[in-house]
């Protein structure tokens, strides 16, 4: 059997892009490009000279940009992390050797039939509810038909006219460094479908191979309303979706592995114009920053064409973001609308949801990022803090647990955003990998607050617990780190330091009061850092200023 599905396609990889064919007026295929690169070059040649050199023209472009508005919508594909594929019992693990996770169903063998994995519906309902959508209690699957070697059945099982969820929205808080602000982006629809396989192209380019491991893996397609206006808004919408699916536990949302894929639709129009401009689709966006940069590039490109009176050069097409060159290039031009000949999938019964089923899922939903942010905000945290804590589900969980352990909100936030975040960054670990538990952080904060240890000692203990584990109480005891709050004991230390440094004392009394810091440091050193700083300073001042 192995032989049947590892058969190479005897063709040039460039042929696998339907776009590689350029039809002339009479429909004659005359040109087959050797590779995507050459194709790009040709495309650029066909167009009027258009250079967006950010260095030289950025000022003029910025000026022109003000007169235009971009309209951006995003189509996101979220790969669901179900144990098995959507319509068969094959597992899916990213990176498995080719064609090791396949069966007659996902290979599209004759006679094989799809059977829906009910987890897919559960995930779709969770996401639909979290996106504030209206659910279709009665939906169905449809076949989307097209030929491609990575599509084993010649059609993709998808949902067409009745998506499982529609008409929702997603709340986004823009990062403070980009000006901040709250946005509500509309969600047109959420539907279930299956993923296709992958083509593996050889370097030499004489043939391609098909890997069907990914074929049949469940996806949710989430289509936004064209509500975004800038690259940052779009990137933040995508990032919020990623957070949401992670919070909901339906996907790992990993963009590098393709678990979250964004296709952006973008058009530009002069401000004040009601109708949309010609829209262009951008693919190959592998990170949020590439989403943002690709859109900004594309806005500049389109605005420039507008301003140069070359609007007709903006055509409906799919463009590819080239990370290396930091620009978008033509992938394929659409000649009219593709006809996918959708019709209801006869192999699968309709999808019927009961109110009870939906209610149960609604009840089981975790706190979504938006709710968390609002809650943190109400705790009195700044937006900077709120975003830091809520943006990462694990950090938010850690923070919430620390608060639950009785810690002060602001102090907990500071510790997490300060020393803990720095440690994680240095050691390249996640908050789940450090050995400090939220309970211990709570204990640490409490110990500082009640004066058992000083903040300085607290910091030492923190790093020790993060690296090696153990309890705060245990360490304080073990290392005898309890703060010295006994006045007599501190006085003794102060006396000793003053006696040991007569020269400095003289200078101090001679008016060089800055030396107080020196004395404080010496006393602290003498106490091995354990002296209560407030008490220490009070006593030190008294002694230094005492007129003898």
């Amino acid at each position: 059997m192995a032989l049947t599905f590892l058969r190479g396609i005897q063709l040039n990889p460039s042929m696998l892009y339907p776009s590689s064919y350029f039809a002339r007026k009479h429909g004659v295929l005359f040109c087959c490009m050797r590779s995507a690169q050459t194709q790009t070059a040709t495309q650029e040649k066909e167009q009027p000279k258009l250079k967006i050199s950010t260095q030289n023209q950025s000022k003029t472009v910025d000026k022109i940009l003000k007169d235009y508005e971009a309209v951006i919508g995003i189509e996101t594909h979220v790969q669901l992390s179900t144990l098995t594929k959507a319509f068969c019992s094959c597992p899916y693990n990213y990176g498995s050797p080719p064609n090791t996770s396949v069966c007659p169903v996902c290979m599209g063998l004759p006679g094989a039939l799809p059977v829906l994995n009910s987890k897919v519906i559960e995930c779709a309902v969770r996401v639909g509810l979290a996106l504030n959508c209206k659910l279709s209690l009665s939906s169905k699957f449809d076949r989307k038909q097209y030929f491609y070697p990575d599509l084993p059945k010649g059609y993709q099982i998808s949902q067409f006219d009745i998506p499982i969820a529609s008409g929702g929205y997603l709340d986004v808080d823009l990062p403070v460094e980009f000006g901040g602000g709250h946005r509500k982006f509309g969600v047109t629809r959420v539907h279930m479908e299956e993923d296709a396989g992958k083509l593996l192209h050889t370097d030499g380019g004489s043939y391609s191979q098909v890997d069907l491991n990914r074929a049949g893996v469940p996806l949710l397609e989430i289509v936004s309303e064209p509500d975004m206006r800038t690259g940052i808004e779009a990137a933040e919408y995508a990032a919020e979706l990623q957070r949401l699916v992670r919070y909901l536990g339906v996907s790992n949302g990993n963009m590098q592995e393709g678990s979250l894929r964004c296709d952006v639709n973008i058009s530009v129009r002069p401000i004040g114009q009601l109708e949309f401009g010609t829209k262009v689709e951008i693919k190959n966006l592998n990170s949020f920053s590439s989403v943002s940069r690709a859109i900004d590039y594309e806005i500049s490109r389109q605005v420039l064409l507008h301003s140069q009176g070359q609007v007709d050069q903006i055509v409906q097409e799919t463009r590819l973001w080239e990370e290396g060159a930091q620009k978008t290039v033509t992938m394929r031009k659409k000649e009219g609308l593709a006809d996918y000949r959708y019709f209801p999938e006869p192999d699968l019964p309709g999808v019927t949801l009961t109110e009870e089923y939906v209610d149960n899922i609604r009840k089981s939903l975790p706190e979504v990022p938006e709710a968390k942010r609002r809650r943190y905000e109400n705790m009195g945290l700044s937006m900077q803090d709120v975003l830091f804590l809520a943006n990462d589900m694990n950090i938010a969980e850690f923070f919430d647990a620390t608060i639950a352990a009785g810690a002060d909100v602001k102090l907990a936030a500071n510790w997490i955003m300060g020393d803990i975040a720095a440690y994680m960054k240095n050691e390249k670990v996640t908050i789940n990998e450090i050995k400090l538990t939220p309970q211990e952080l709570g204990e640490l904060i409490a110990s500082i607050k009640d004066g058992t240890i000083s903040g300085k000692i607290g910091k030492e203990i923190l790093f020790e617990v993060m690296a090696k584990g153990g309890t705060v109480k245990g360490l304080i005891k073990e290392k005898d780190l309890v703060q010295i709050v006994d006045t007599a004991e501190i006085e003794k230390l102060v006396d000793k330091v003053i006696a040991d440094n007569p020269m400095q004392l003289e200078q101090y009394r001679g008016g060089k009061t800055k030396l107080q810091g020196f004395f404080a440091g010496q006393v602290m050193k003498e106490s091995k850092g354990k002296a209560n700083p407030k008490l220490l300073n009070k006593i030190l001042l008294e002694k230094l200023n005492a007129t003898s």
Partner: protein, 541 residues
């Protein structure tokens, strides 16, 4: 709303009384002269039950049985060509049955039963080509659920039977490999698309067989070949492993030389399958347990059963001799105690065009997977579109290509509403009409085909006339209902007598009722033997 008045036409039919409980032979000469065999042939026995008895009593071995059938195959196959592949492990599997008998091990209900399997039903380690060049030499890695269930019951897969490519045809001439002949008249077709399965059972090359029925592909060949053909309710039998033609219409069906055999086989393959989301979770009754032996039947064993004769199936355009046979069958049912009335299905004539749109649309999609990439015929090409184009152009036959084109057209943007959607509306109407008719009646009857078997080549260049031949059967698929076809008489052709089948249609999941009626009908139908001349001599001795 439906007429329940018995039409005068039926009552005025000449020789009506003399026909009852006799072979419904319509030829005048046959009616006036005694049948060729002076003794009345016995009703068909259940081969499955007979061999089971013989095996258990050790009168015969499974190997003996297999040898007999293989020998008969050797004699008849050169003329009939009903098989595309004959299993090379039949004797080995028979030996295994004999070993079990010798060891007094438990025997499955189909132990030693030789089953022909239509070539579009997947069998592990045997070619399964669906009669198409595009799947030449393709061997699936798995058994269809129906085949697996049968094997678990002890059945031996005898071979793969010929068919119209992907089930698209009504004569089996659409096979990419060979033309199967009708055992009753070698110059005629066995019907289709399950022509090989029907011919094989008719000529006793195997005991029972599996076919598939999308628009009549089990029932019409059963009628043409004089065997029992059973199309179960959609969802009764798992479609997993059935090479899809039109998924919403396809069902796996059974052929037997007796109603009992078809019922026993159906029981073995029925039931919910977790690999087919459209298979029903309904309980499967033991269809054969309710059969009553002829000697124990009352004089009016079907008293009170309401039978509706579908008026639209006995009108113009239907062979008068076929109509005579069906009216004869109706009167036979009356003799058995049924009340027969004519019913009208107003949507009847709409079913045919709706069927061809829906079936073609689904097939255009189902056949997309034959792209030469993963299995089947692959042409060496240096670019993708030629790879697709040439693999498919060379792999599919002309009828298949035509239906793919029709279906692609019907689903295209701008045409979808006018064709596919409209056909779906007709389908709803057909279903509704049947539902109403089956509220007034227990079963409906009609011919299984408007004529007896065609001559080979007769319809080849006239697809529309071939499509029209499906008028009796397609509506039942649109409604997803069960139907049983059993031989009820003959028409005379110039060269030979050709069998005619009556179709009995029941409400969804009421196969049990159909089989009960069919069994009594068959056991009480006297004077007919539906053993074709090609093997009549051998079987007589």
């Amino acid at each position: 709303m439906l007429s329940s008045v018995q039409t005068p036409r039926l009552l005025r039919f000449p020789n009506f009384q003399s026909l009852s409980l006799k072979c419904l032979h319509t030829s005048q000469s046959q009616l006036t002269t005694p049948l060729p065999t002076s003794t009345t042939p016995p009703p068909p026995p259940s081969q499955i039950l007979t061999i089971r008895k013989s095996l258990l009593s050790r009168e015969i071995t499974a190997v003996d049985l297999a040898t007999t059938f293989l020998q008969r195959l050797r004699h008849t196959e050169p003329q009939l060509k009903s098989f595309l592949y004959v299993s090379d492990v039949v004797l080995k599997e028979a030996e295994e049955i004999d070993r079990k008998i010798a060891n007094n091990e438990e025997l499955g209900p189909l132990a030693g039963v030789l089953v022909g399997v239509k070539d579009n039903i997947c069998t592990a380690d045997m070619p399964s080509t669906a009669g198409s060049k595009i799947l030449e030499n393709y061997k699936p890695p798995f058994d269809a659920t129906a085949v697996g269930k049968m094997k678990k019951c002890g059945a031996i897969v005898f071979g793969k039977t010929n068919m119209d490519e992907f089930g698209m045809g009504s004569t089996t001439e659409g096979s990419a490999y060979q033309v199967t002949a009708n055992p009753w008249d070698l110059s005629r077709v066995p019907g289709g698309s399950s022509g090989g399965s029907a011919a094989a059972v008719s000529a006793r090359q195997c005991m029972v067989s599996l076919g598939s029925d999308t628009g009549g592909s089990v029932r019409q060949p059963a009628s043409f070949c004089g065997v029992v053909g059973l199309k179960p309710t959609y969802g009764r039998v798992s479609r997993y492993g059935l090479v899809a033609y039109a998924s919403s219409l396809d069902v796996i069906g059974c052929f037997g030389s007796s109603v009992a055999d078809a019922g026993i086989l159906l029981h073995a393959i029925s039931g919910h399958d977790k690999f087919d989301a459209t298979s029903s979770k309904r309980e499967v009754p033991d269809f054969a347990s309710q059969f009553i032996a002829r000697d124990h039947l009352d004089s009016k064993p079907l008293k009170g059963l309401r039978v509706g004769l579908i008026r639209e199936t006995i009108e113009d355009g239907v062979d008068p001799e076929v109509i005579t046979s069906i009216r004869g069958a109706a009167s036979h049912l009356e003799e058995l105690g049924c009340t027969v009335t004519e019913v009208s299905l107003p949507s009847f004539s709409l079913g045919l065009p709706a069927y061809y749109i829906l079936a073609s649309s689904e097939s255009s999609s189902n056949l997309s997977r034959y792209d030469g990439i993963r299995y089947g015929k692959q042409v060496v090409a240096d670019e993708l579109n030629s790879l697709y184009g040439e693999s498919r152009a060379g792999g599919f036959g002309s009828e298949v290509k035509m239906r793919i084109l029709m279906g692609t057209y019907a689903l295209s943007a701008g045409y979808y509403d006018a064709y596919y959607k409209r056909a779906q509306q007709v389908r709803t109407l057909v279903r509704e009409n049947f539902r109403a008719a089956l509220e007034e009646n227990d079963i409906l009857i009609s011919p299984a085909a408007p004529s007896a078997a065609y001559r080979i080549g007769e319809k080849k260049n006239d697809p529309l006339s071939m499509y029209a031949g499906d008028i009796m059967t397609v509506n039942v698929n649109l409604a997803g209902l069960p139907a049983l076809v059993l031989p009820c008489g003959f028409v005379d052709s110039s060269s030979a007598a050709l069998p005619v089948g009556v179709q009995m249609i029941g409400a969804a999941f009421e196969e049990e009722k159909l089989l009960k009626v069919g069994h009594i009908f068959e056991q009480t139908l006297q004077g007919c033997s539906f053993i074709p001349p090609i093997v009549a001599d051998e079987l007589a001795c």
